[in-house]
Amino acid sequence: MNRLLPLSIVALGILAFATLMLVVVPGMQIRSQSPSPGLLPYTQAELRGREQYVSLGCLYCHSQQPRASDQAPDDQRGWGRASVASDYVYDQPHQLGTMRTGPDLLNVGARLPSQAWHLTHLLQPRAIFDWSIMPAYPFLFEQKPAAEPGDVVVALPPGYAAQNGVFVASQQALDLVTYLQGLDRTYPALPDAVRDDGYAEPDDEGRKP
């Protein structure tokens, strides 16, 4: 090898530049973001539910980042407006996700506000959508001969209901649902909010910059 020193200097220089541009500068940009007005911190129950969300690996199939209408028809799917950095201020670590195997969940609480629905769906997604490929989470529920006072019984259609007794939601299931119900970023984003607007294109009519 000849010219080892200049080679190393150039290589390290490129690495440093890349780190600066891809890590340091965006980091500073993001860190300066305050929560969107309308975004509330998670409650204790929601935080417990969020831990369930993380540990169950929901992230592997569900994103939490609706795209702009220029990128994908997410708004027509009812997934909500394109998210901005300020929407994730309380998410440590964020659950953006990259796989869109299932629907985006950033606004699922606004779209599907029913606790009872979510419990049924978690226990057996195919009870509602016969084509669903989401795994069932029966271990979050307990089968009992009869519900005790305070128990949350899961509504199930015939064919999925317990042969004898009832399914009762565990605290983990309730927490997870509380977290899902709390996922609601339907407030408007501020104009100067940070997101990748690279796809926004001026239309022929209106919406010009």
């Binding site: 708004d75 779209r111 599907l112 506000p113 259609p157 015939p158 997101r195 919406r207």
Partner: protein, 413 residues
């Protein structure tokens, strides 16, 4: 290694390391590099532009939030009153009372303010003629300032000759708002005359008989659900107000609700959740639910959220766009989108995400249960911007006025 840096004049030794002198880069490669650099520059420029566009879109979305009372009375009158009372305030014969020459407009300002805040549901006599009054409540869609502006404008134009000296401000409206916080609509002219202004001319008696209380079995379905069917209210809210893609049910025609439920079961309308719920209901229960929600009145909780062009939305709703063969929404769904029972649902105060999603579904063929395919053609003719515009506009309308008819009487809705 160092000594091998230059060719050695001596015969090659075994530690010789082959090397190559730098060769000039071929022109085509250079050309591609130049083109890529230009492309990169252009992309960076376009990206800068796109950020501007994105910010503008978000600014539009924010601006589409409920107005902050900056519009003048004339503009508000045109947008809020003229669809029923007509631009010249003469009303509609045998249907909508005139403002021109109306004793209620000429009366003390709290009369109009209270009517705007709570709406009317009952017979009323205006300028010597009797009307079967059903007016919406504007309290959930207009801020105090705008109500004050409308009252001042209408009184000045149609009512009291000296009303400019009696102009009211938002504080007056706020005070009036706090006076009867939990009441529904005024039960017609008789009650208004008795409570608000005893100088009004004699009024027809309010409709007798109380509204039938809802069937307890239906109420149980709504609040607790049954078997595999989740409670209606768990998604549609305790007041049937809905949210986002969950539609507002309060004020929809009874027959329309029952038909949709039947369509879910029959597979003519698609939504797995609703199909599951509807399949547990008997036909009587569907009718009962329809009756309940058609009678239910709740304040609007909808607001424009899609960044649509509200002016375009208003044009589509009122006039349509005949160049696209699209008639105005109101030409079928009734003035101000209050619906025409049983076939044409109310659109007023519906959530924009739901309206836009349904229009997209009509256009895409996922929904196909309209009579004579009326909605399919309209939704296909509208582009995405138009759909968002009209959905956002409809969310600004006051909810359907109360119509306290006997239970099950569709025609009275």
């Amino acid at each position: 290694m160092k000594r091998n840096r230059r060719p050695d004049p001596t015969p090659p030794d075994e530690s010789f390391e082959p090397y190559e002198e730098p060769r000039t880069i071929p022109i085509p490669v250079l050309s591609i590099a130049v083109a890529l650099a230009l492309w990169g520059g252009l992309t960076l420029y376009q990206n800068g532009q796109a950020v501007g566009v994105g910010q503008q879109e978000r600014a539009d979305d924010l601006a589409a939030q409920p107005a902050l009372g900056t519009d003048s009375g004339a503009v508000l009158f045109e947008a809020r009153c003229a669809t029923c009372h007509q631009p010249n305030g003469v009303g509609v014969r045998n249907a909508v009372p005139p403002l021109m020459g109306s004793e209620f407009v000429a009366a003390a300002p709290q009369v109009m303010t209270q009517i705007l805040l709570h709406g009317i549901d009952g017979p009323i006599s205006v300028a010597g003629r009797q009307f079967n009054g059903h007016m919406p409540s504007f309290s959930s869609v207009l801020p105090d300032q705008e109500i004050a502006a409308i009252v001042n404008y209408a009184r000045n134009r149609f009512g009291a000759p000296h009303s400019s000296q009696l102009a009211i401000d938002s504080d007056f409206v706020a005070e009036q708002r706090s006076k009867y916080p939990n009441r529904g609509s005024w039960f017609g002219g008789e009650e208004i005359a008795a409570v608000l202004d005893t100088t009004l001319p004699s009024q027809p008696p309010a409709r007798s008989g109380s509204i039938e209380s809802a069937n307890p079995a239906v109420l149980k379905l709504i609040n607790d659900g049954r078997g595999p069917a989740w409670a209606c209210s768990s998604c549609h809210g305790s007041e049937g107000q809905g949210g986002e893609t969950v539609p507002r049910l309060a004020g929809l025609p009874s027959g329309y609700i029952a038909k949709q439920l039947k369509d879910y079961v029959a597979g003519d309308r698609h939504n797995e959740t609703m199909t599951l719920v509807a399949s547990t209901l008997t036909e009587d229960e569907m009718t009962g639910l329809g009756n309940y929600y058609s009678r239910l009145r709740s304040p609007s909780n909808a607001a424009p959220s899609l960044g649509g062009d509200l002016e375009r939305g208003e044009q589509l709703a009122l006039e349509g766009d005949w160049s696209l063969d699209v008639p105005g929404c109101f030409s079928c769904h009734g003035p101000s989108g209050f619906g025409v029972a049983p076939g044409f649902p109310s659109l007023a105060a519906q959530h924009p995400a739901y309206t836009a999603a349904q229009l997209a579904a009509w256009a895409g063929g996922q929904r196909d249960n309209a009579p004579v395919a009326l909605m399919n053609h309209i939704a296909i003719a509208l582009d995405d911007d138009d759909r968002r515009a009209v959905a956002d506009y409809l969310a600004t309308l006051p909810p359907v006025p109360a119509t306290g008819g006997p239970a099950g009487d569709d025609e009275d809705e």
